[in-house]
Every structure is written in C-alpha cells, then in structure tokens.
C-alpha cells in the first residue's frame, strides 16, 4: 500500500517535471487562454462544485467539526464568483517569465544576460479552505511552473471537483494536462514521499498553520518556502501624533483580527505613555479589544479606570488572531527596536512618529520583512504592494521575503553568448 503510494506520487512528480519543461517555454497567450478557459469552466460548473462541497460539509457534520471549522470549508455561489474573477485577474497580470534582469558585457566580450525563468515544479501543501486549489494552480500556471497540489482531507471532494476542471483548460490552450495535478489521496505516506522527491520537485510551499509548516520543514528534503505567523508590533514613539497613532493602531489591530499582518503588540514610549495610552486604550476597547498590560501601562490605565488585565510572559510573543492586544511601555526607540527584534516574528512592524531621524533609525534597525512608518501593518499584502496577487507572505529570508507574487514564484538563469572565448 505505502509502496504503491510512493510509486503513484513519484509518477505524478515525473509527469510534472516533464510538463514543467514545456510550460517554461510556453507563450504568454497560451497560459492566458488556459486561465480564461478555466474561469469559464468554474462558472459553468457551479452546481457540480457546490454538490462536491456539500459532501465535504456533510462529512464535517458527521465528524463533529465546529461551526467555525465548517464555515472555513464552505463554498458559496458568491465565493465561486470571486474565484472566477481572481482567475481572470491573474490572466490579466503581466507574465514574469522572460523578463531581462541584467545584461552586461564582460571585458573579454562575453555577453551575460540574467533572465527570469520559472522555478520548475512547485508542491503546494494546504489545509481546508475551498479556494486554495484554484488560487495556487493559477499563480503557478501564470508563472510557468508545474504544480502538485495536496489539500486537506476535510475539503477533498471540493478540491477534486476543482482540479477536474483544469486538464480541459490546459489542453484547450495546447498546454500539457500534467502541468497541474492534485494528489488523489490525503494519505500521509503520499505526502512524505512528495516532500523528499528533490530530483523532480524544486520547491514546497505549505499554506496553513504552524504545525503543518513545521511538519513539512521537518520532513522535506525539497526546499521549503515558509509563511509563518505574524507577531506584529506597533510602536508609538515620543514624537507620535496622537490622532495618527490612534487611527493606525486601531486599524492595525482591528481591521481583520484573523490576518497574519494584524498587530498583536503595542509598545509606547514612556515620555508620552501617560498622555497617549488612555486615548489609544479607549479607542481599542471601543472596538472590543482586550488589553493585556505590563506594570507600567497597567498603572496608567488603572489611574483612569480603563479595563485591562496583567500580561503574562507568553502574551508578549503571542499571535492572538483575536481582539486582544498586549501593551508595554518602553524607554526609548532603541528599546523598542531591540524588543521587536527579540519578540516579533519579523513579519510586519510599525512606528508612529513625526520625527524623521527616529523613524529612519527604526526602519533600519527593525529586522522584519516589512517595516512601516505612520501607516498600518495591514498593508503587508501582495495586492496592497501592487503585485496583483500573492501566494502568501513569506517569513523566510531566502528567495522571497514578504508578499510572494508571480515574480517571487520565479527563478532566473544566465544566458552567456560568446564567439570562441576560452577560460585561461
């Protein structure tokens, strides 16, 4: 059984590798034609997609999933329409493949060009949301990569129904049907095989919670691009504008509490804490945020009878993904920087200040993927950065950091032209 699965997954990877070589040199028009066909097929298959999803929802009920878990699985006509739109949007994005990154001529006359090419074969390991199969397939396809998709057990019927539409779209455009393949089992043994097929698969992207990412990282020999959680900070400096501090902090915390780029941690300079903190706290509490405070901030809030609780040590490194914020008073921008570099997840951190020198010090010193000055951490996002779409927000420092768009789904190669130059 396990040997059969290994054989099955190996064959999928070999076919993906072969397809990737065709896709790497496929014209943009063919990739876009496949995407537009896929958009039509999704729209015209709404009933079948909803029926497949209904089977997953029935299984969820039978297995006693919570309402929140079930909601994450649920496909609706509105969500299908949004997916159709997102496929069309990716078709409209510029093709990253073939872009000239550098073009130099060496003293010996060699012309060396560095051009963007697809990575090759990308494995995507994901959990239970019904949009991920299509989201990932279309970004890989547009960037010229073959993809191997392995979704969660809870959403297997829905994923299978979506994946069944893709070969037709590919063939319609003259592209190899093996360019997008769903692994037809959620058996762990199949996943374990995939994670070690480094001769055919060039990159694994796990999309899901920390335990999934740790499992993949711990078992893969294929390189992994990670999208870990966000423990994001807002630091209100001594020279912060009070109104700006209030609105940015509230936005960073409450605009969407479940997002990885939402703020979880608030630092306030001690010179302004007395004046600023009550105002910010009241604004957060008005949005239903609970505050978990250090001694310094608790003393200030207590004097004004503003509700709060005492923070634990764990709170200062927590990703709450909820209406909760930990609060600390710090004595300088350097302490803020050191605190963030120690306790944040190096994802998205902001300073609010009117002092440019302090801002520059913070921007340089905070070792995070995106550092914000007088604006919300919520902007760390592929759409907001103008990438058009994203496969995730990388917390790695190799290859891609921050939002990963089509460009970050590519590698490069060197093309070297000569007329008989020899190495001396």
């Amino acid at each position: 059984m396990s040997a059969d699965l290994a054989q099955l997954v190996t064959a999928i990877a070999q076919r993906a590798r072969a397809a990737s070589l065709v896709l790497a040199v496929a014209p943009t028009a063919a990739k876009n034609a496949a995407l537009m066909r896929l958009a039509s097929l999704i729209a015209s298959s709404q009933d079948a997609l909803l029926a497949a999803n209904a089977r997953d929802l029935a299984d969820a009920k039978a297995n006693g999933l919570t309402a929140a878990q079930t909601d994450r699985l649920t496909l609706t006509p509105t969500r299908i329409t949004q997916l159709v739109e997102s496929v069309k949007q990716v078709a409209a994005l510029p093709d990253p493949v073939g872009e000239m990154l550098e073009d130099t001529t060496r003293p010996n006359g060699l012309r060396i060009r560095r051009v963007r090419v697809p990575i090759g074969v990308i494995g995507i390991i994901y959990e239970a949301r019904p949009n991920v199969t299509i989201d990932c397939a279309i970004l890989c396809l547009k960037s010229g990569n073959a993809s191997i998709l392995r979704g969660g057990r809870e959403i297997f019927n829905t994923n299978t129904a979506f994946a069944a539409l893709i070969p037709d779209a590919l063939r319609h455009a003259g592209l190899p049907a093996d360019a997008v393949q769903l692994i037809p089992t959620t058996d762990r043994a199949a996943l374990n095989t995939l994670l070690k097929l480094d001769q055919y698969v060039h990159c694994i992207i796990p999309r899901g919670g920390e335990s999934l990412i740790r499992f993949v990282t711990g078992n893969a020999t294929v390189p992994v691009l990670k999208h870990y959680n966000g423990v994001c900070f807002v630091y209100l400096d001594a020279a912060a504008d009070a109104g700006l501090a209030e609105k940015v902090t509230v936005n960073a915390k409450t605009n969407r509490v479940s997002a990885c780029n939402s703020a979880e941690q608030l630092l306030v300079h001690r010179d302004v804490a007395e004046k600023l903190l009550p105002r910010i706290a009241r604004a957060l509490i008005a949005k239903k945020v609970s505050l978990r405070c250090d001694a310094g901030s608790a003393a200030i809030l207590a004097r004004e009878n503003i509700p709060h609780t005492a923070a634990t040590a764990a709170d200062y490194r927590a990703e709450f993904l909820d209406y909760i914020m930990a609060v600390r008073v710090v004595d300088s921008v350097d302490t803020a920087i050191a605190t963030i570099n120690r306790d944040s997840s190096a994802h998205s951190d902001a300073i609010i200040t009117q002092d440019e020198v302090t801002a520059r010090r913070f921007l340089a010193g905070v070792d995070s993927a995106a550092v914000f000055w007088n604006t919300s951490t919520r902007f760390n996002d592929g759409f907001e950065f103008g990438f058009g779409a994203e496969i995730g927000i990388s917390t790695d420092r190799l290859h891609a950091r921050g939002p990963m768009g089509l460009r970050e789904l590519c590698s490069y190669k060197f093309l070297v032209e000569g007329n008989g130059q020899l190495r001396g």
Copy 2:
C-alpha cells in the same frame, strides 16, 4: 556530553544572532576596516598558521591519508599570500547592503521601497581545504551576515588558527567579536544541533562533496543553499564552426578537470558527426582525454582508428572530474535539449553553432543555471561573471542560481512610509 554540546552550539547561535543585528546596520567603513586588519593579521601570523597546519598534516600522515588528500590540506606561504590578497579584494568590493532595489509610490500615497539587507546568520559547513574558513568569513562579513563556521576534522588545527585572528580584527573595527565564530568541535552531535536551530540561524551553506550536502539537507530544518556537482554538456550543432567547436570543447573539458563547471559530456549532431567528431576526438586525446562512446560515435571513431571505449549507461550522467568524456550522437537540437534536461545536473551547458535560431532555441530550452553559446562552460564562475568573489555556484533554483557573490548572500526588506493611510 551531547546535551553539553547542544548547549554550546545553541549559545554560539544566540550570540551570532545578537551580533548579526549589529552587523546589519554597521557602516561599510567598519566592515572594510575589519577586513584590512584581518589581512594584516593573516600576513603577520604566517608562522603560527603554518605550524597549526603542520599539526594537521602530521595527523593526516598518522591516519594514512593519501598524497592527494594531504595535498588538499596543505597550507603554504604562497597560499597564505593569496588569502591575504583575497581578503583585501573583498574589502575593495562594493557593499551590497542598503542598495535600493525598488522604490514605488502606490495610488494611496504609500511609498514602498525594497532594500537589500543581510540574510542574518549563516552557517557554513565545509570539509578539508585550508582557505575556506577565511573565504567564507570575509564574504559573510562584507555582506553584513554573522557566520558560524564548522570545518572538517582533518583541518581543525588550521581552521582554529585562522579563526583565532578574527575577533581581534572585528574588535579593532568596533564590530562584535561574535560576528564570526568557529564551532570548537567537529563532533557530529554539534553539527546536528546547528542544523536545527532555525530560530537563530537563517541559512546553511554546505561546501563540499555530495555526501556532505545530502547529510545537511536530510537533517536541517534551517534552509539550505546547495552547491551540487556539475554534469555539464557541450553540444556541437549541425551548424557548428569546426575550429570553434574544437577549441571550446577542449577548453571546457581540460582547462581544469576537477572543476564543477568542466564539461563531462559531448553531444554531436549526426549531420556533422562524421566530419567533426574525428577532429574533436584527436584534439581531446592529444590532451590525454579518454572517450567513452555510444554506438554512433564509436563507429565513426573506429573507422579512423581513433582510441575509445564503449560508454555504460552510468557514464551518460557521470561527473568524472577527470580526463574522461562521454560522447553521443544526437539527431537534432531538440534531442540535445531533451538529453541535457534529463541527464545533466542543470549546472552549465553549451551549444556550439553559427545558427542563431538554433542557438536561441537551445538557450531558451535548456533548463540549467547557465547556458552558453559558442563559449566554454568554464566561465560559470563568480569572478568571470564580474561578481568579484563567490561563495560557490548554486544548483538550487530558490534564492540564488549559479555563482553566489555578495549580493546573493543578502535578502531584502520592505520599508513602507505613509501619513496615516489605513487598510479599508
């Protein structure tokens, strides 16, 4: 014992992480001052370095190493002088840190800049050459990365003597001494700990043979940048110029047979094999190269009594690193491309042709880090590409592909400036 080692290595990594934050914002002048001081210290420590190396050589003799193995370990005054020069050369290279990669302003007024920053903490795992400690330390230092060095047992005394010079050079320039640390043991348990310290170490670069790289890849949770072997091809097209084909093939094969960018495999288009192959074969044999032939090429050479042997299947994917070349006749450029994409290590592959259309097809279709037209695969090298120095030639497709210079030892981060913009 093993727990003690884990604690030792963890403490090294924690100190490296702290040092990396200082180094990331260190001025170029300080990094260069440390490098110039190091160059002086190496030059003035020649006797101590040679004495340390003599202890390694005595151990090598006692352990029965071969002459070739012992030669690889040997430090000489000439090699020390070369090392001093290479340190000065890295000091003279431009600092990659802080380079602005993009600067855009979004419709909402947010200014988003992408700037080059160090990766952070880099672990280098290497084998027995005496120059690697300094080579890697200086490239990491110049690119603002803290480094943790773990060299081979056979060269431990030499490595320790080199590493002992570095803290003085760093302190002299006001930089943290922990920015470069040698692990003071070659115990495997220490290495195993290092490979899993992903909370402090951001990247591992193994420099050595395939078995070392496979061990590191199989055991690391820290991302690994790999520098695998080169199974490099030269394809002589139907439209090849005979003289150019001869000199480039001989250079690619014999300029330095032990290099990863040396050619191991020769493909010849069948339309010109009869005319071209005897000439190329004689030129290679004159340079002491043995030819291992397929049936088609063997028949041609046999008719002219040119020495050769029959190739085995393994020869067609072999990295000989020796005066040996496998030879096959192919029926088209497309067969050449498919053969290379199947049998090469995607490192460095060349076409020799006067036909530009064929050359463009080959350059686009061959899925390798560097593809050459009418020039030698031996040019896939950081110095030859103008990078100034390299830490290796990456065979990965993520982060860096081909020569890795200072720029490839960096990551980037986003700096986002606003005036109160909120996410809607």
